[in-house]
Symmetry: C2
Subunit: 208 residues, 2 copies
DNA sequence: AACCATACGGAGGCTGCCTCCGCTTCGCAA
DNA sequence: TTGCGAAGCGGAGGCAGCCTCCGTATGGTT
């Protein structure tokens, strides 16, 4: 994920695979991506694809040629951000305090989530469509998180029975409601409640 | 909420207010509600309204006459369930162990949430449209939860700095992702992680 | 029996989704 | 340079959903 350009190459994504893409195709691809990013940011994951094509001054057919599904477009327009995020995780592995490192990353993740409406829905969708390129994104993030989490657990900062998947879910859940609910102000508080709960082994065996 | 029939009366809802509703209107209202419940359960909150009208063997115009917005329909079709839930909360106030009572209710809440796709979105929407009848539902639930929570906190079973709103959010968040993600199997685990975290005062003042 | 407020229902205008295919353009090779 | 085939474009068209509007039907009342 640190090698830009080597990211999963699809139907028409730019990169080195096969022939390099005609100039016009390339141009349209870029315009679409730009328009899409803006649209998704403004209207969330269900922005109108026709509108995106219109903004990009491109036929709707062209949009579909490059991005056969809405997911493909969503994914493509978030790849950069996701890259950044996982790079950040790698960097944080050198942080002396593993617990703090984890927290830092989670907040960075929150930051991104807040800024990009649609990212959340995308990640949620990623779980359903097992095996799609989309789900790669989620995997990458989970691995990034996984490394940080493992370190934090080894340092005793986080209870050890929590899996990356679970943490991911919970954190993700918080973003999701915050977004759906339109109230992002509470993210910090909710996140910290969540983390408080994970710091030490559960008190007693938890009854139910 | 324990007085059925006295629930917020709207445009065309059955009840005692004003003239009692013409026979045909009443009939159609009921059919729509039935069809809607089925549709929302099967397809989630964005089931097709035209399909619902069709199933109810009623014109689309009639649907809109009774339920001017999708929210109105959603709300109406969940009112009964919400009633049940808040009654349950009241009953649980007599439970000897307040901590357990809270947990029990949360699981009941989970149960409902799992069974009714769409409930979650509805509640999320409820927050946006402040003051709508929809938001009453949320208020009612929060109050039900609030009473249980307060008791649990007084008994020392739950850390005292948590508000009903926050708990509601977090629990809600878990359902939401579980649903969006299609994976309801993890609800128990996630819920119990959440609760573990709330049992005792936070260890240390939590850094950030 | 007659009347009219109340309610019905669907046509119609709009937007969005996605597919299909005739036309355009690029870029390679001669 | 030119020519030509592959690659790409783009929008018409079919479908479905949203919601409004209004001519028509009907329940209930006098």
């Amino acid at each position: 994920m640190t090698t830009p350009g080597a990211v999963a190459a699809g139907t028409s994504e730019p990169g080195q695979p096969a022939r390099p893409m005609r100039a016009d195709a390339r141009r349209n691809y870029d315009r679409l991506l730009t328009a899409a990013a803006a649209a998704f940011a403004e209207h969330g994951a269900d922005a109108s694809l026709e509108e995106i094509a219109r903004q990009a001054r491109v036929g709707i057919g062209t949009l579909y040629r490059h991005f056969p599904t809405r997911s493909a477009l969503l994914e493509a327009s978030y790849l950069v951000q996701l890259d950044t995020l996982s790079d950040q995780a790698i960097a944080l592995l050198d942080e002396p305090d593993p617990g703090a490192a984890l927290v830092t990353w989670l907040y960075a993740f929150a930051e991104h989530n807040v800024r990009s409406r649609g990212l959340k829905e995308m990640l949620a969708a990623a779980v359903r469509e097992e095996g799609s390129r989309l789900s790669n994104c989620k995997t990458v993030l989970r691995e990034a998180l996984g490394a940080l989490l493992r370190r934090a657990q080894e340092a005793g900062a986080i209870r050890s029975d929590i899996t990356p998947n679970e943490l991911m879910r919970l954190v993700h859940a918080v973003f999701l409601t915050a977004d759906l609910t339109g109230d992002t102000g509470q993210i910090d508080r909710l996140l910290s409640l969540l983390l408080d709960g994970m710091r030490r082994p559960a008190p007693g065996a938890a009854e139910e």
